[in-house]
Amino acid sequence: MRHGKYRFLVGALIVPLALYGVFVLSPYVQAFQLSLTNWNGVDSAPEFIGLENFSRLWSDPLFLAGLRHNGLMLLVVPLAVIAVALALAAATKGTRVYRVVYFFPQLLSVAIIAVLWQFVYTPNSGLLNGALSALGLDSWRRSWLAEPDLALWCVIVVMIWSSVGFYVVLFSAAMESVPEDITEAAAIDGAGPVTVFRRITLPLIWESVQVGWIYLGIAALDGFALVQIMTVGPGGPDNSTEVMGLGLYRSAFNFAKFGYASAMGVTIFFLTLSIAVLLLRVTRRERVELA
């Protein structure tokens, strides 16, 4: 009997495991392997060059710019998204219509979001400049994506806009599981809505917030698709919106340095991993069991 069970389990798992191995694990292994070579993408016998690719990374101004910009996104995006999502979730408690509306951006693919926002930002016929003119604020009109000081912030706004909806839904669901009697008791004891939120609601939904930190931290280290589609250059003007993912793509597909690009990939992999672990540690709190 027992023997039969294992045979069944192995039989059922072998196909998915094989697929996982070929399409997920082996590319990872290959990326590690390629990062130690000077592979150009078509050569059949790349040369092994040790850690040279990795040492080059730290003097590559484009990669360092990408690192800086992803770092800024990491500081801004998760904080802003979680703050806005918590506020919206708290404000729209009980009204489902808003949540559906907030969730809309989540249904669009990143490519569509990027193209749409490009139309919003475009200087002469764009929605944003049009709205500013309509409000009589002509002096505020800008070439939004073409000014080095503004471009990255424009991208960050889109990142925030496109992810808020998901977290509104996530946090709303968590808030609904907070028992009414606890918040009511606090209110009776004289706690205002802000105190109730800070002392009662937030600690009770902390696990969802923690999940948000990690997902958003990982997303902030990416940003490739938005930058590639929306920005001048892409990555411009003058590399002011360069992100690590774009540098990786450019190294591989424009500069034909697949070995070097793999080294970037490996570096980003470890960065993402460490950030995720770090965020888990930092945001760890005592778990509250709801009766």
Binding site: S26, V42, A45, N124, A146, V232, F253
Partner: protein
Amino acid sequence: MNLTRRGALLSAAAAAAATSLAACATSGGGNDEGAGKGDVSAENPLGVPADAGLEVVVFKGGYGDQYAIDAGTRLKEKHPKVAIDHKGIQGVGEVLQPRFVADSPPDVVDNSGAGRLDLATLVASGKLKDLSELLDAPAVDDPGKKVRDTLLPGVIEDGTFDGKPLVLNYSSVLWGVWYSKTLFDRHGWTFPKTWDEMLTLNDEIRKAGLAPWTWQGKYPEYLNDPLLSMAAKAGGFDLVKAVDNLDSGAWQSPAMLAAAEAIHQLAVRGHILPGSEGLSHTEAQNAWCKGQVAFIPCGSWLEGEQQKVTPAGFDMVMAPVPALTGSDKLADGAVMAASSESYLVPAKAKNPQGGLEFLRFLFSKQVARGFVESAKALPVVAGATDGLTLTSGLGSVAEAAKAAGPNMFSYKFRTWYAPLSKAVDDATGELATKRINPQQWAERVQKAADAVAKDSSVVKHKR
């Protein structure tokens, strides 16, 4: 040896896993024997084996692939037993990269479009066949002539890497400044001969309520073309060579600086449509087609690209970029020209002779005339447009090509050194928005060129 059945199975599985992991992106494939060479005769100068297969992969983009199908049909008339496998695709790089790595490529490739493989890399890895044999073969329409003598000047050089012709481009592209003839006739404007005249005319255009210039700001390379054209005209072929050979100081030479200054003047004098730096190529070109702007820099594909939005009677014309000074080294009509649609025969093709023969038919006058009509572009075959009625834009491009004669120039650094071309694009974007001045522009670009020259991981070329 204590080898249990389970142990044997486990180690076999481990070995299989190890090989499948090792059989990674870079491992070579089998070395199949090719079809080799058939008998050479006057009828079959390249010695195509009579009944081999012939796999043709063509980029099917703006120009379509009808002309390549025609070439196949004509080849088939001569070699009825050859089985042609024609594939018109997009994303050539994605499809062919693994096949080049595994050394089992098709017999002819049109390596073009956004997803093409990097030519310099294919060359550096020795993946391409020398095309000299084809160039010395008799032309299809005129067996008294060699193929090399039926092509426009510069075409062979365009595809020559370190003395070896490895690539033949099919479509000839010229870069210049575009305007609407109707608009200019209405206002009584004529296209300026020198840059000073251009700046004077721009002031006049502005008085008429139009923006003189716009450019495809999202992709700064579009504005490089007039800049580099003027530099070449003023500095001559020596400057072009110095730039491509990464000579020190080439980007800071007087001609280059003067050209940067000329473009900078457009921005300084407010001759550029506000917001251009944030416009995509479509947005900028449409603004120009709507008559909001007088000039736009672009290559000769503009007419085809704008076909659907160009109002009737717009009559677009491409003119070579005006002379930078009164004493330019190159003659008046000199124009930046290069060719695109890069045809190549892989070194490891199974039927290389068939590949060469396909190209012999492709570069024949008859197929080239079909290309003019179906693709609305200029092929590199001399005299292909003779006797055809051309549209306003294509006609002006053909005329510019004829007027320039031997005074066509092209820079190679864009294909040779992609990182340098990115640096030039970035710098020009900054120059056109007045965030840097011409001196800073030259300094930045020279620094990038020096960095490429010093980088031991970049394969260098000379011309």
